[in-house]
Symmetry: D2
Subunit: 461 residues, 4 copies
């Protein structure tokens, strides 16, 4: 070919959650059976899709309309249903508090909802059609799809505020406010609630602070609410629409993790206070114009939304699942209790737990050369030693863990974070297997950090 067609940004698209898969596949020649703890797909991990939900989908699949294009914005009946749901959200009350009340929730119309082919598609457009010079401040650790999108749109590395594992992964709000105040390129704040990968759920007061900062400095808010219906452990929070008052904002929602139906690629954006700012409105319009070139998003899942989410069984379904995840979160936390050099904040939402290594211990350069986990074959040990040259310390652990135990987790460094650690899922459906996984993870982490006097070797078990 006479011209180079490779985009200069080609090598920069990183999605560790799926890239680790390619590495795991390389271990096949040593016949290591892989236990996939990297990706948040409840169905693949054994959760059956409820029969009544499948019945609804089958029924819709019998109607011709489900095969047709839908409106570019999304099927009208789905948008009407969802707008109505938003508009029924309650005002947050503050019993016994003397500061000013929370605001009335915002209400929206069906025109304020835009469907996408999953939130990955939504995020690509939400960031891709932002003006290059309008930055969005997001969390660290961060879900890679979001952080990569902000980095790609701006040409800079992703701009982040700190989530603090010492404080149950709550955001460092002083860091947020100072960054906003002293960096006037920031046009918006991104939050994920419940958070992926940390499992944190933000109390209403924390959300209120985000809104206060956005209003004070004239920003808009993007809130990823993928896991809004996966909250447990008594966590109290609010939807963005309940707290945002008059600040322009977007909430991102999806069928993926709560039905669960990740294969639907059906997510939507709820737009709040669209008319408050002329340029915000123009921006939202550009998202719709971009979508129009792709005609529409997948019809069938949209058409199922009113029937599934409007079904009286749906609330129970969500409650039951929350209880399940609460139990698993406790198991995960228990497994890491008493393990030195690594800690785990018990998740209160979403489908993941994140263990963080003590940075000092992990960063000890003298020890770094001696770390390993036992493997079944010396050639596998040699292979891993070669592969971890120059990679982040937590990725080194993840590689050894894979080789030693077959468990595939995601290094925290793959989530735009400086903290060493790893994320695993709460999804394994087989109770005994899940508990064994958590125990193995905790013990492997401890073993990995153990000071050793001899250089690391791929010892045979």
């Amino acid at each position: 070919m006479r011209r180079n067609i490779v985009h200069p940004g080609a090598g920069k698209l990183k999605y560790e959650i799926r890239e680790i898969v390619a590495f795991a596949r390389e271990l096949e020649k040593w016949h290591i059976p892989i236990i996939w703890e990297n990706i948040g797909d409840p169905v693949k991990k054994g959760e059956p899709v409820a029969g009544w939900i499948k019945d609804i989908v089958r029924e819709k699949a019998g109607e011709d309309n489900s095969y047709a294009y839908s409106e570019t914005e999304g099927a009208r009946e789905a948008r009407e249903f969802l707008a109505d749901r938003v508009n029924r959200r309650k005002k947050i009350s503050l019993p016994g508090k003397d500061r000013e009340e929370y605001p009335n929730p915002v209400t929206i119309s069906p025109e304020d909802i835009l469907f996408f082919n999953g939130l990955g598609d939504a995020v690509a457009k939400v960031f891709g059609f932002l003006r290059r010079e309008a930055r969005v401040l997001g969390p660290s650790p961060a879900y890679s799809t979001l952080s990569s999108a902000e980095a790609a749109h701006s040409g800079y590395e992703h701009l982040t505020y700190r989530l603090d594992p010492q404080k149950n992964w709550m955001p460092d709000l002083e860091d947020v406010e100072f960054k906003v105040k002293y960096n006037d390129s920031i046009a918006g704040i991104l939050l994920i609630n419940p958070d992926n990968p940390t499992g944190a759920v933000y109390p209403t007061e924390v959300l209120g602070e985000f809104v206060r900062i956005a209003r004070t400095y004239g920003l808009f808010i993007i809130c990823d609410e993928t896991y809004a219906n996966v909250i447990y452990g008594g966590a109290k929070t609010a939807a963005l629409s309940q707290i945002i008052a008059d600040v322009p904002g977007l909430a991102l929602r999806s069928l993926s993790k709560e039905v669960p139906w990740p294969g639907a690629r059906c997510g939507w954006v709820e737009v709040y206070n669209r008319k408050v700012d002329h340029r915000f409105d123009l921006y939202i319009r550009s998202l719709l114009d971009a979508k129009r070139l792709e005609v529409c998003s997948t019809s069938l899942p949209q058409l199922c939304i009113p029937a599934i989410m409007g079904d009286p069984r749906y609330a129970d379904h969500l409650t039951r699942r929350a209880a399940v995840f609460e139990g698993r979160a406790e198991e995960a936390a228990a497994a890491f209790t008493g393990i030195s050099g690594i800690s785990l904040v018990k998740p209160r939402g979403a489908l993941y737990a994140t263990a963080v290594f003590d940075p000092l211990t992990m960063g000890d350069e003298k020890q770094e050369q001696t770390r390993y986990l036992p493997v079944s074959d010396p050639s596998l040990g040699e292979f891993i030693k070669e592969k971890i040259t120059g990679v982040a310390p937590d990725k080194g652990f993840v590689y050894w863990l894979l080789a030693s135990t077959g468990i595939c987790v995601v290094p925290l460094s793959g989530f735009a974070s400086d903290l060493p650690g790893f994320r695993f899922t709460l999804l394994e459906y087989d109770d005994e297997k899940r508990r064994r996984i958590y125990k193995t993870l905790a013990e492997s982490a401890q073993e990995y950090l153990m000071p050793r006097s001899i250089p690391k070797l791929g010892l045979i078990l």
Copy 2:
């Protein structure tokens, strides 16, 4: 908001096929019932989805796996099925021809197939991840999603070669070759076969010329084969894989128009000769990396592909549909026969017909001021006259047509074309209604061009 967040390219995303809808909706206050001839959705126009196909989908919707994520590249079973289909394509024979033979068809592996959420998603990534300085030469008229994508990726207007209505909409191959030769920024050629909007189907020799030009000048080829299974009227053509030999190329395919299942948003790219050029391979890898950030494409339709397309009834299904469209193409052509000032090449593939006004008659500036079609209410005539100020001449016709007859077609100027004309569909399922539509279109066009001595008015019918 303290910063402008609107992207400078925001106003440039144009998709006339859906934008005309907004205009049509404005006519509601005059109670004009709209006949939608603008968009290529067979299901919305009444074509029933085959019972056996719906049965397959319903069955798959009963399996948990259909709810899970699929591989980023697409479900393995679908890719294996499709790769096998490609590999069974026959060598094109050339009986009685003395020039050198056509090459062997290329074969591919499942890794050479990438699924997307419909071809709109595929096109956005195929162009979005091309290096900015690598241009793709495409047809004019052109399907807007393709032309907008090339324009957006390069920062220039879309670069086009001419399809000639005087020669059955065949490409002006001299124009193609000279543009390629004298503009070294061109890295690839785009063709649509069968073509949208013209309905042209390229003979194998024409495809061979595209391949020869690509090989001579070191280009890659993108062939949109959305309508590859919607060919009729005895047209002979070839799949790109049958003719491309050793040139790097992409074919774009989809379930939308042949099942038909446009609401699936399920399309895929077949990559040919990926390893022939290192940079082509890197480019393809960047498409996969981009997709990975969105995890995967919609699972259910992918999982249905082997069952639907591998069903023995599928071939008959396609044949039967082709016969139907052939009949409608003849009806359309007949309706425009003998109408002066406008011509229509009988389509031989895809779902559309395109009528072209005689540019001299249409462009006659003296007449321009007097053109109109009769409408039911003077205020509607006033409204249309105001709206057509400054718009392209064929869009003027489309607006009057809407007001006068309620038929909604797409102006050819909305397809990156300088020729005045309009596209309508072959999709109306009701035979009588369809014939009446075609007759009305032809008569309205004739009436519109009629020389008048008085200024145009919104006369009452």
Copy 3:
């Protein structure tokens, strides 16, 4: 022309100091004689060039070598002379201070000096060849050439720290440090010492703080030292090289304002600690590569540098001029003493004084409609009233001032500042005329702010 050739950034290049001239010229039809107080050209304002300096230039103009190209970096003899001058700078002592000592001055070689066609050329390249994502934090008010260059290179508005007129225009160092800390796109800090337009001269401790911040956060420093030899009023400061220690930095110097020889377009960059950081070195090399495409900078002035600046009379020349400017700075300060609603910090370096209106008084919207200065002809008043619609308040004053008195000053809003005010020069050579100018400026400002009950009119004097 078939294509639009106008750059999208075309309208954004603003240089108020010269644009005000175009406005002043429009007043010619009212026969207003203009007194140019806008531009810093000592020669145009009557300062004679010293005879002995002209003798040196004439002598060099007799040598063929002065007509030849010089080296791209600049004439070797000039670079050797200047490097030697840098290397003779003394260590700053801190008698009686208990904190740690100032560092040793850096030394450089002739290779660390690059000549440009004046500092405008230098600034265009220093910013133009910075990576787009590497921002430079600079002062507000700011000299327009610098702020426009940073804005153009980054695509954002210029990023600024505050100079505080309440504190003798000293930089708000907390603002500097917080912006650096919370905005990690900042790669460098710009300072102007002595400052244009404020006349501030930074004490060594302030410079030391800039260096501390740069070292702490890993930044480089750009110091515009155009006026380094025009310091008076007992101000104590240091050259950047005396204080920068091991931080990478650039000092910008010029013949323009001290010989004075602005028409020479002869400025140079001194590079400090080039080898401390590999990327800093690469960046400096790219400046030289860019200059090489223009071959070299003007030869004759470079060749005169050793003879002029090395002449024993040069030190006296600088001392004598400093005394002159000190006197004029006192005159300017005296003129504004006791004037309410406007204040002026007595300059201690450079060639300008900046008067600042009280923002509350100036911003009083009720009064805004009634402000004017008396003019000689009602049509002139009408003209001014029309021209000030939508312009910054201080620009409104500047226009009325021109119309009323013919004195042309530059509004402070033209210096990337939110403060209302104006800059005028200390350059008028005719003592009586100069005092009259200062008096008129102060009185006009006072009259302009005077509360009035009637709407503003172009009253005849």
Copy 4:
């Protein structure tokens, strides 16, 4: 430093004419005396500056005004003088020709002239302020400053038309027209007349064809007329202003090569038909706005222009120089006559001659390994052999030539050309030395191409 500040385009700024100097300097350790034939500086090569011209400069250097800023556009008296000169240019007559007459020359006002700090500065702005998507088609070979500027502004490689050494380096006008016709991103055409590096002078008919193409396709013209007063050998040509009629255009002129005064960095742009196209006018205004940020260009040389160029002795001065260069051009041509494998078109303008190797002979890969020139020291031979790995074939010759003879020329591959060859100057003032240089060049080229059976070695002379 915490951020990377190096611009991604940093390594792409290439100026072979000066870069070869760095290589030559590396040979110093073998004590090779260098003969600089690479750069077009008449003064450095011994041409004395005329006494009367130096007298004028000295006189102006005695006037204070020469030390002051000039107007941003340039000193009014210089612009008035030059505009008058343009307006006196005669209409080109066409005795005995039957095709239509040449047009009237365009006339300009002083506002149509903009001064820059040499044409390098002018070229940087002329291309830098063109819209990125407006390409300029220029010659190959090309003067590097121009080709680099076009490449940098567009993000593509420079877009070129062919100058044909078989046809006295005339432009391939068919190539020009086809590229313009089939590449609609082209907004302008660049020509250099007389041409650098080839020494070609374009006959009026050729210029007329450029104008015809520009008018037919709606382009503007940039004509580099640096050497307009260095024409000899009976060449007939025209100034762009004499032939451009109503097409928008720019001529670039300079004092550098005709006074000669390259060290002045004094060049100017003459703008023709500025008001013919609104966007052309806006573009010209953006050049002035850009210059305004640098205040102005060097004053002294501008102020000398009327006195020097208006002096009655100036015409004789130009005639005398032309005769000198004509003689040298003949010497150069004679030296290469009869040398096989290399050819040289006798220059008819400018200060250079370009020898072109027979591409087949030079490109013979078998021979490539055996080529060398004798050097004085085996270690020098080893050094050269190492340095030429991977460099263009003509650069290989240039390196061996330097090592063997000390003569420094510029490879033609450094002028955006695919042809192998080299450029040398007609500037050596010492007659005997110059003839010896030309003889050595021709003989070395012949020796270099000589087929050899043994691998190349650094043989001792």
